[in-house]
């Protein structure tokens, strides 16, 4: 595990970007770590793009903002372009290869594409593409123990959306599987 990770999550509005970030922060809290999430709200939110920042740390978090991320989760091309250069050395860029067709490279980060739209569509719900991404992300980073994300998801969905839990868990699994099958790793 890491002592302190800066994570940037970005994509179109509607792709579940904010939820992705919040699930990580909730998981941090669940594991009694320090978690911090903040949205970039502003002109872009209505225009169609959205992004948020997450920090997970073993100690009290000072600055809530960071210049460069350890991990970038890019759900679309404009987001990738916007944040691609703001990475720490040894970082991870996880991107939506359903929308970003070209192979992404970086001299600072390992770049891994996950065709989350395709996987989610196969599952019968484009809605859970962000959870597919979550599966891949957790498989690669081992940020939290297995059971944490499930507990957090149950709480997040609440009673009203409890029926959605199964497909979300399925999406998580598919994300993990994709990574395992592709044989990619991130230290």
């Amino acid at each position: 595990m890491f002592d302190h990770v800066n994570i940037k999550v970005a994509g179109f509005g509607g792709q579940g970007v904010m939820m992705f970030g919040q699930l990580i922060a909730y998981s941090a809290a669940y594991e009694e770590l320090f978690g911090l999430w903040f949205p970039s709200y502003g002109p872009e939110t209505r225009g169609g793009t959205a992004n948020c920042s997450v920090i997970v740390s073993k100690k009290q978090i000072n600055s809530p903002v960071f210049q460069s991320a350890n991990h970038l989760i890019a759900f679309n091309l404009p987001s990738l372009q916007k944040f691609h250069d703001k990475m720490k050395d040894g970082g991870l860029i996880l991107y939506n290869s359903s929308l970003i067709k070209d192979q992404v490279t970086s001299d600072k980060a390992i770049c891994i594409g996950i065709p989350i739209n395709d996987i989610a569509t196969d599952l019968g719900s484009i809605q859970v593409s962000n959870i597919v991404m979550m599966g891949a992300y957790l498989e690669l980073t081992n940020l939290f123990v297995e059971s944490t994300i499930e507990k957090v998801l149950i709480k997040y969905l609440g009673e009203k959306k409890a029926h959605m839990l199964d497909i979300n868990m399925e999406a998580l699994r598919k994300g993990r599987e994709y990574v395992l099958e592709a044989g990619v790793t991130y230290a």
Partner: protein
């Protein structure tokens, strides 16, 4: 509740409930909407009062009325909304009523933007209301501290019969952090509200809530009494934190989110062998002037860092009384500086010195 992850605005609302709020009056404005949204649900469910007013002007005057009638009242808003409340705030302070006002700052001037800012320091500490009055102003740096202060604010307001303004930037309002609601806060003995208008059937004599004194002799007396109270608040309620002040080369003064960014910068600088201390005002009024007397000798300069063009800078200058060179670093309009910028500002202190 042990540790939970919560958005700042929601945490403010929860803390207000824990602080015993009876009534909320407010008007929507970004970036503080989660406060009324949460309270609309939970206050009404608890049989208490939530009113979405027709405007900020109406909201602050509903606060005035309810506070005068003896309730624990609050409102919340953001920059232009707080501007509209200035007349009402002056009345509440003038009539010596308690209430809690939450101000979640966004970029200005005018409509400005909705990203975080600290450019309403003047608005909070000097006000735009008329006359010689003061709000008690607290500016926490984390959601945890915001919760603790919110809980205590209602007591402080009641104790001094004075409005308390809790000042945070939009980042504190919008971000989520892990927090603990059970941290105990100082308790105060609050006298019964024998001034409240509850009907003469419920108390001796007639109670009048008022800020009008047409006779200048009376109005001056009233002002002198207010000043006496303000002096008492200065003596009792000034809050600040001193960080890494053993033997610093430079001292930073910063509050709220900015002080957290500076903490990170101070750590980085330490790694590079540069020791930098920080005075972190928690109460912006009363301002911790005395902290400046404790600055060890040998300090090369003071850097005031704000998400504004330099407003707290006034208080830094007043407090330091010309003893040090004073530098300033500010970002505005929603730009939140990163720790690296503060590191640079310290390294290039000479360029930052204000004339």
């Amino acid at each position: 509740m042990a540790k939970v992850l919560m958005k700042g605005n929601e945490a403010i609302a929860v803390a207000a409930l824990k602080g015993g709020v009876d009534a909320f009056f407010g008007y929507p404005i970004t970036p503080q909407n989660e406060i009324p949204e949460y309270l609309s649900k939970h206050l009404l469910a608890a049989g208490k009062v939530f009113v979405q007013a027709e405007s900020e002007v109406a909201a602050i005057n509903m606060v005035y009325g309810a506070a005068g009638a003896g309730a624990r009242v609050m409102t919340s808003s953001s920059s232009p909304g707080i501007a509209l409340k200035q007349e009402g705030i002056s009345y509440i302070a003038g009539a010596e009523l308690p209430c809690v006002i939450v101000s979640v700052m966004r970029g200005g001037p005018g409509l400005g933007g909705i990203q975080p800012s600290q450019a309403d320091y003047y608005q909070a500490t000097r006000g735009g209301g008329n006359g010689d009055y003061q709000l008690i102003v607290y500016a926490p740096e984390t959601i945890q501290e915001t919760i603790d202060i919110m809980k205590e604010s209602f007591d402080i307001a009641d104790y001094y019969r004075n409005p308390v303004l809790v000042l945070v930037d939009g980042l504190i309002g919008q971000m989520m952090e892990t927090v603990d609601f059970e941290k105990p806060v100082k308790k105060r003995f609050i006298p019964a509200k024998d001034y409240a208008t509850t009907g003469t059937a419920n108390h001796p004599g007639r109670n009048i809530v008022n800020s009008l004194f047409l006779d200048p002799v009376e109005l001056e007396q009233h002002n002198l009494q207010l000043q006496k109270k303000y002096q008492q608040i200065k003596n009792n309620e000034t809050k600040y934190e001193m960080i890494n002040m053993e033997n610093p080369e430079y001292v930073i003064v910063a509050y709220g989110t900015m002080s957290r960014i500076c903490r990170s910068a101070i750590e980085s600088l330490k790694e590079e062998g540069i020791e930098v201390g920080m005075i972190r005002p928690i109460s912006l009024w009363p301002y911790p002037k005395a902290a400046f007397n404790e600055i060890p000798s040998g300090v090369k300069g003071i850097l005031c860092a704000e998400m504004s063009m330099g407003q707290m800078l006034d208080d830094v200058m007043i407090s330091d009384k010309g003893r040090h060179e004073i530098g300033f670093y500010g970002r505005v309009g929603g730009m939140v500086p990163e720790p690296e910028e503060i590191v640079d500002a310290i390294k290039n202190f000479k360029d930052k010195v204000v004339k």
